[in-house]
Symmetry: C2
Subunit: 198 residues, 2 copies
């Protein structure tokens, strides 16, 4: 499909998910949001296919965004990346969108195509964090004893947990953001490196 | 209800959730697992009520277990508690149970009773971790600059994320466990305190 069609479908699916939630969403709802007939959307009449396609578009959009945190030192890149993936607080449409994505996650054990897409998201974020930490160790900004593969696992898992807690218990990510800054400064930074201004 | 009845219901609900998953579960399935008639289970004929009751029993059982990590230094208590809540790897019934609990989490924004129960779980784990960290700071085992409220937020969020990632992307908690040990040793321990043997 063309980029324009993909973008239009993404926007329509996003709006429909926010309005109806995952459980009640129909292809007709997406078509309503897209302001064109259901027949004009070239997908199987099968919710799962639509969601896999939706995850693919979301993946392209989000991974295209990640490089925008380039520039600066590894510590600055890390802070910018973590802030970007946690900057989802407060807005009600986003809360509904997070709920819908969590509902998609529940389908993963029963749908290989969904699990593969979610695994790709997870792997891209993890690899990006790991690479930044490794670059920091290489440049000497981060402590030489830091193992990038282990150091990246904690934030990736916490980010996933922050999204789940936001849905399940309405927990804000504010304290977690503070904890992540503290983690970077105390756990990763080489002794003697100046701490970031807070 | 009596403790025996609660335990029996919990076991039956657990087995039924593992067998059928959340979405397809009916009260009759639970009754089948409990090996008694549906009528003998004194609940409304309403799935939600059953799940709220189920969460209540689960809450009592799990919070009763938490004090069993008492004894030892705060660092040892922290390691034992984190190991206990992450010791859910590998077993397929547990994987299905985690999926069912995640499905319950998706219901939280639409069901105050469910959200309240999940919030209680979250708060108990958080408060337990916070208290252990605070005791470690008090005793001098942990660094005096550690803020217990911030230090506890990271593990609680990561534990939630580990449960979600296990369902969504089949990620094992092995590397996270390693990261948590490293977090305790480097981030929390006072300078000069001996590191735990790994």
């Amino acid at each position: 499909m063309s980029d324009d069609t993909a973008t239009e479908l993404l926007a329509a699916t996003y709006r429909a998910l926010c309005r109806h939630g995952y459980a009640d969403l129909t292809l007709a709802d997406v078509a309503d949001e897209a302001d064109r007939s259901k027949a004009a959307i070239h997908y199987d009449d099968d919710g799962e296919t639509l969601f896999v396609e939706f995850l693919d578009v979301l993946y392209e959009r989000d991974t295209a965004r990640l490089p925008s945190v380039d520039g600066g030192t590894p510590r600055e890149q890390l802070s910018a990346l973590l802030a970007a993936v946690l900057i989802d607080e407060g807005a009600a449409p986003d809360q509904r969108f997070r709920t819908a994505l969590l509902a998609v996650s529940v389908q993963a054990p029963y749908d290989d195509a969904v699990q593969t897409r979610l695994s790709n998201f997870d792997a891209v974020l993890y690899e990006r964090l790991r690479a930044i930490v490794a670059a920091g160790v290489e440049s000497g900004e981060f402590d030489a004893t830091v193992e990038a593969a282990v150091a990246a696992e904690f934030p990736v898992t916490a980010i996933t947990g922050a999204h789940t807690r936001r849905v399940a218990v309405k927990r804000s990510s504010e304290t977690l953001s503070e904890a992540l800054t503290w983690y970077i400064d105390r756990q990763l930074l080489a002794d003697g490196a100046p701490e970031a201004a807070h």
